[in-house]
Assembly symmetry: C3
Homo-oligomer: 328 residues x 3
């Protein structure tokens, strides 16, 4: 369950990104470099011919042990816009995987001279495990494990904040929702603190907050209106309704009554507050449609930035991998 | 159930094709322009290197809300031969779509800067709905809704007639089969009349003809031999056996007895008659194998022309979209 | 059940490879030419940009009538590295195939101007059947029929032997396991004899050997230690546990006791013996993990060579097809 990855697994000897497994442990400089690289790709995706040849001739394998069309799509698009060849392997539905161990699957794909694994797995730590075992030239990207967390999500969130707010100094950010089950929340807390925001708040019922949450460097709130007061950024988390038992929230209706983001509550925040959500939205449960579709929402910009951020980590890790291969 | 699309949705201010949702309402000039463009691609698909760079760097999304390998394949091939990147999204089998509205799905893909949606949906009007809501630079192609109808099918049929017969003037065309449930029949009737054929006949049992069918500009027949007399073109429709209750036809055997296309019946037609069918064929139900595979059949040419026609509407709509984007 | 394909189906008038359906019947010269071509691609897959433009603009259809992610992946990679467009059609899961005959499916894809079919089918002879019916410019590759056999597997095995041993003269090769149900074994026996090895042994319990196996040009052994004595190469076959009834082997445990490859047994072989296995491995059933992952194992090199061999037969058959098309 531990999310702390030793920094050395994802960094090469020169401190460059070799895998992208978690943002926890990454320093400010590297986070900024990822955002700067994403910035250079943000213009690519908007232009008429959206391809750059950085990964031409490289093979990116989307290795999905659980089905996620949405996430797979963003990585596939990012890889194709870098001119890579993309191989989608859905192990969840693949009969061949039967009786073959994860490591045998990896070794076989490796032997086919693929260059990158984008890994989605129901178990926390799967991407780390693969990263520890791949050949030196291969990069591993974590596309989400266990509790629907992925570091590219955290990075696209901070990238969106930087684009909207110009920077991080002096910002108050509220993360609202199921902090307990969200690895993305922990990643965001790390990244926001590393990037020097003024204050990170977590807003949730007590049942959805980890014990000793203050030790992560946040201020906890149990009342949404209080938590939103004077914030610059609201990050709504998705209620993983399909993953949580009835023990955690009394009912969807009551949850919305207490923690749903409405126009009235948002008035407590700064007038230029931005509202974020990783999608897909549970309309009327975490967030009112009027807010989700309103002028303060940057939810669709997050999606756009998601492609740029994924292109960034793909190109950065591949460069580090290529150099290691050349040196070998 | 209405198939009449306001012309303005699929045309831009200059009258050019921006979406391709239906042939109904399109004028002769535009239909001819589509066929002329398809003609230029017909040679591309036959040559050794089948790619043209017209859509390089563009992303085409095959957004299939119902499974159809056959149709998806033709659009995927057309897009790839135009050098586009293709993303296949099968919403029917995608768990992520759960709880997300159609519009949220569209908005998210839009935010990823895709350029075209090829839409297949069980509900009539789905492609129109999407076209009304997409960003200005995105084109929508209808790959079939409700009753297995799609305008590219109607266009490849008239394109095939033009290629085989040189033109439309003076032609007698018989459309045979389930006119009632076929949107492609209505589209073909529109297109054939707009292109100036001499006569369009519909041949079907009364239970499979719409009321007041004459108002569409056709002559109805209930006897196949009568309906085929002196025709230049026979368009067989596919019996959607999986979609029709037993109320409409007494039995497959009896249907073939009365409306199946046989060599003897085809003798009533002109000696250079061509026989068309959208596929897949129900051999021995709508059509005798000897006819389907015989010298008068152009069924496989229709398949070939289907690629050229889809390349044509893809390139035409994309061009209109690009200009709108540039102007924006 | 017959595996003997008339040579003329897969060769063109000049004796060049037009389809690749089986290695049986192919002469030494052609087998060597395939390996030489694979050699030229082996370096391509290792280099930084892994693409060559030999099949640019060509369309390769992976036509899989039974699901096999592993095999599909290797052909897809090979095709993409030759710059072909790849279309994956999984007939097993495709609803459209219902009611349409195999030949109608082939004719339709042909009409879309595809250039190559890679066929996987549960029935022996499916690829041959398709090859007998396709248009002159189309090549057919057998990616396995009935009993999980495919000629590219046999070729990558001999290619691996040549790379490791420098040639075939004087070699003793033992093929161990279920010879009876393995078409790849028969293909390998043919290829090894055609390439001039000194001796081919088959090692298996009597229940897993065909009658009159000596007539294939092999020496049968029923004792593994005996069969391994002084061999240069061990080819382990995969126990198709899912395909065999309990009649053939007493139990997995007993099978391993008698025919599992262990370090102790391998000591009987030459000190520079190489160990091969087509994968996926049943660890602890046919082979001990220490051997599979040990220094004598070339199992992962086989996977690497599989890409090169598939690129070789794709480029060779396509060239023959293109010339036939040009001549037509």
């Amino acid at each position: 369950m531990s999310t702390a990855a030793p920094a050395d697994i994802q960094l090469d000897a020169s401190g460059r990104l070799r895998h992208f497994l978690t943002v926890e442990g990454l320093n400010r400089e590297l986070l900024v470099r990822i955002m700067d690289t994403a910035e250079s790709f943000a213009s690519v995706t908007a232009q008429n011919v959206k391809k750059v040849p950085l990964l031409r001739g490289k093979t990116v394998v989307n290795l999905f042990f659980e089905n996620s069309t949405r996430t797979r799509t963003t990585f596939e698009l990012a890889a194709k816009r870098l001119s890579a060849d993309v191989l989608n392997i859905n192990i969840a539905t693949s009969a061949t995987s039967k009786g073959e161990s994860l490591l045998d699957t990896i070794r076989n794909l490796e032997a086919m001279h693929v260059d990158m694994f984008v890994v989605r797995h129901a178990q926390s730590g799967a991407a780390h495990f693969i990263a520890r075992h791949v050949a030196p030239h291969i990069s591993v990207l974590n596309a989400g494990d266990g509790r629907h967390a992925h570091p590219t999500q955290a990075m696209l969130d901070v990238f969106t904040i930087r684009r909207c707010k110009g920077g991080f100094a002096g910002l108050k950010v509220a993360i609202v929702g199921d902090i307990l089950h969200s690895r993305v929340a922990r990643s965001e807390i790390w990244a926001l603190n590393a990037l020097g925001v003024d204050e990170v708040r977590v807003v949730a019922p007590k049942t959805l907050l980890p014990a000793h949450v203050e030790s992560l460097g946040v201020v906890p709130y149990h009342d949404l209106s209080e938590g939103l007061r004077d914030v610059d950024v609201v990050i709504m988390l998705r209620l993983q309704l399909e993953r949580m038992g009835s023990a955690f929230i009394p009912s969807e209706h009551e949850y919305f009554q207490r923690f749903g983001l409405t126009g009235r509550r948002l008035e407590k925040a700064k007038s230029d507050v931005i509202v974020m959500h990783p999608g897909p939205i549970n309309r009327g449960i975490e967030i009112d449609s009027a807010i989700a579709d309103g002028p303060r929402s940057v939810i669709l910009q997050q999606v756009t930035h998601g492609i740029a951020v994924r292109m960034a980590v793909m190109s950065m890790t591949m460069r580090a991998g290529s150099d290691m291969e050349a040196a070998a």
